[in-house]
Amino acid sequence: MKIHNSRTQRGGIKLHKNLLVSYVLRNARQVYIKEKYAEIYRMQQYEEVMTVCNEIQELNPLDLDAEDAEEERAACCGEDFQRGKEQEPAYYRSCCMEAPSPCDQLSVNINTHCNTTTVLDLDTHVVTTVDNGYIHQDCCCDTFQCAPSAQSSAKKRKMDFSYCTSDFDELQDFTTTRKRLRREDCLYSCQEFTETSNISTLISIFGSGFSGLLSRQADLEQICSKQALAGLGAWTRAIVAF
């Protein structure tokens, strides 16, 4: 918005101010992408762990009763999570607790760190409840169904992510983009940066800013940057012209 407004100000675009604004956007975008990748990584970890747990369960169906199965799953969950790169211990704890427990306990959110948000995906019309990054789908799930539903939700979220990146190309359609990103934003309770949702909205509208800034964080932005670069908007060209 600031960059857009400066185009109509007297005296023309202020290069310095717009450069600084682009830095803010870049910083916000970096945080956003870091969180996204971290989230995806966590989901992948969880998937792998659940797959392994299920395989163990399948291999020994007669030896274990339901309770022991839960314990073992919890055990292997716990071990793997400890091995994994945890950024939010609260998240893993909630996973371990909730995966083996009955469905009706899922709705009881005892974890104080969790943010519960219910959103509607405009594309697939699926209602999703997000719980500090751990997604519950609106279905009746027990221990066995939770894993596949989590998997499918993870897949769905991966799809959503690609929606997100492709939206960087569509700067005109920012209203829809904002709704999608809003949903993604709800996934992260970013305690440190309270303005993330606003800033990610800004990111969607204005693209990625100067590519010279992007190239610094290549490891995090490999996937996003290519699509984002392709979507550099008219405002950067305007700055070039002046």
Binding site: G11, G12, L15, T194
Partner: protein, 453 residues
């Protein structure tokens, strides 16, 4: 401009803002002797104040009250007009970005004034005599009827009322693609530099159709742009040295003897970033808004959004002194970004002996720091709290602990009242503070203790 009266308290604030937008002072500068003070405003006007000469002799005595010279309006002229760049369809603001006086060489005074694109050299001269007794024209200048002339007379100079004439002597145009942010006169008295966002040009005062580009940081591809030039200044004594500051918080000292194009700096002054204080706005608050050499030429003073720093030319690893101007704003950066205040460019100045530095803040506050003790005071430039000849009392912003009477809370600071521009008399403790459309001139009673109260 100092006599601007406050309009009655009708709720026409939007109208008042519109009307006085052009009166907002955008630059303040003393000349080399301090007798003249020039201000430029957003409307492209320059107002020159002159110190009263009657009390000039007396004011040099220590402790004299009431005799210190006052500054009165000497001359007013329109320096720049609004312009239009037809090629780019861009309006060029007439706002005066900087004024710099030339060293005086004869009876006339010269100053450079610049807006975003064009620099002008003005000659300010006095006329107190005029010739009278022309043969061919009468007193009003009308041509006489030749048949009425019976004798010849020699015109003589007669004293007349003092008239101050200001004439443009040079116009330095088309030198800059981007917005000019600084000009600086060289100690050689012949050249000066002008800096915009990406380039610095060197001009000769006598030549207007050519300038020499000495710094160019424009990348081949504008999308690779990472920093811009924010301020530049010549060294006060060495005519081959100049410094420029960047939006990344670095200073570059350049030596023009090394090469024609000074893209490679002779010295780079940079403070390593503290990773613990990283935030969304780290780049914005580290951008240097002003750089000034000390009178001695040994130090540089820089201002970024929250601090003022003194750098030793001999040490490039970091500043030798850092002064927190308004650290209490660090937690408010988000809202300051929203209301654009985080982009405000504050100036900073040295006193005549380089022992005190001064810079502006919000709520009409400005701060002075004594370099020897490291202590700072907060003062206010606000008409209701300062009568003529009254002693300015120090102010305090409440940030925690015991609250004293008169303390101002951080949330009640008025961010529309910002002190961006200021100047310090080159020899005495007289300061000129620009507060929006008002100019305040404060004088110290040459008492060093007063500054540290």
């Amino acid at each position: 401009m100092g006599e601007d009266t406050e309009s009655t308290k009708i709720n026409h604030t939007f109208l008042r803002d519109y009307v006085t937008e052009a009166d907002v002072i955008s630059t303040v500068e003393f000349n080399q002797t301090g007798d003249l003070l020039a201000t430029g405003d957003k409307g492209g006007r320059v107002v020159i104040f002159q110190r009263e000469t009657e009390s000039k002799g007396e004011s040099e005595e220590v402790g004299d009250t009431g005799d210190s010279g006052e500054y009165n309006v000497y001359s007013t002229f329109q320096s720049h007009e609004p312009d239009f760049d037809y090629l780019k369809s861009l309006e060029i603001e007439e706002k005066i970005n900087k004024i710099r006086w030339l060293p005086q060489q004869n009876a006339a005074h010269f100053l450079l004034s610049t807006n975003d694109k064009t620099i002008k050299l003005w000659k300010v001269s006095e006329r107190d005599k005029r010739p009278e007794g022309y043969n061919l024209k009468d007193e009003e200048g009308r041509i006489k009827d030749v048949s009425t002339i019976t004798s010849l007379q020699v015109p003589v100079l007669k004293p007349t009322d003092l008239m101050v004439e200001v004439r443009p002597r040079r116009v330095f145009s088309n030198g800059h693609t981007y917005h000019v942010n600084s000009i600086s006169v060289n100690s050689d008295g012949e050249t000066y530099l002008s800096a915009d966002d990406l380039r610095i040009n060197m001009w000769h005062l006598g030549i207007t159709d050519r300038s020499f580009n000495i710094v160019d940081i424009k990348p081949a591809n504008m999308e690779d742009l990472t920093e811009v030039i924010t301020s530049a200044e010549f060294h006060p004594h060495h005519c081959h040295l100049f410094v420029y500051s960047s939006s990344k918080g670095t200073l570059r000292l350049c030596d023009m003897r090394a090469s024609a194009l000074c893209d490679k700096h002779a010295k780079l002054y940079e403070e390593p970033e503290d990773p613990g204080s990283r935030s969304f706005f780290s780049e914005i608050i580290s951008s240097v808004s002003d750089v000034k050499f000390s009178h001695s030429g040994r130090y540089m003073l820089t201002r970024d959004y929250l601090t003022a720093k003194v750098w030793d030319l001999h040490m490039d690893k970091g500043p030798v002194e850092t002064y927190q101007v308004h650290e209490y704003l660090r937690s408010k950066l988000c809202s300051l970004y929203e209301n654009d205040c985080i982009f405000d460019k504050f100036e900073c100045v040295w006193n005549s002996s380089d022992s005190v530095i001064m810079t502006g803040a919000y709520n009409s506050f400005f701060r002075m720091f004594d370099r020897e003790t490291g202590r700072g005071v907060t003062l206010e430039a606000w008409r209701e709290s300062s009568k003529p000849r009254a002693v300015l009392r120090t102010r305090h912003v409440y940030t925690g602990g015991k609250r004293r009477r008169g303390d101002v809370g951080v949330d009640s600071l008025d961010f529309s009242k910002k002190i961006l521009h200021m100047a310090w008399h080159p020899a005495e403790n007289i300061i000129a503070i620009a507060a929006t459309n008002n100019l305040y001139i404060f004088q110290d009673r040459v008492n060093p203790d007063a500054l540290t109260q």
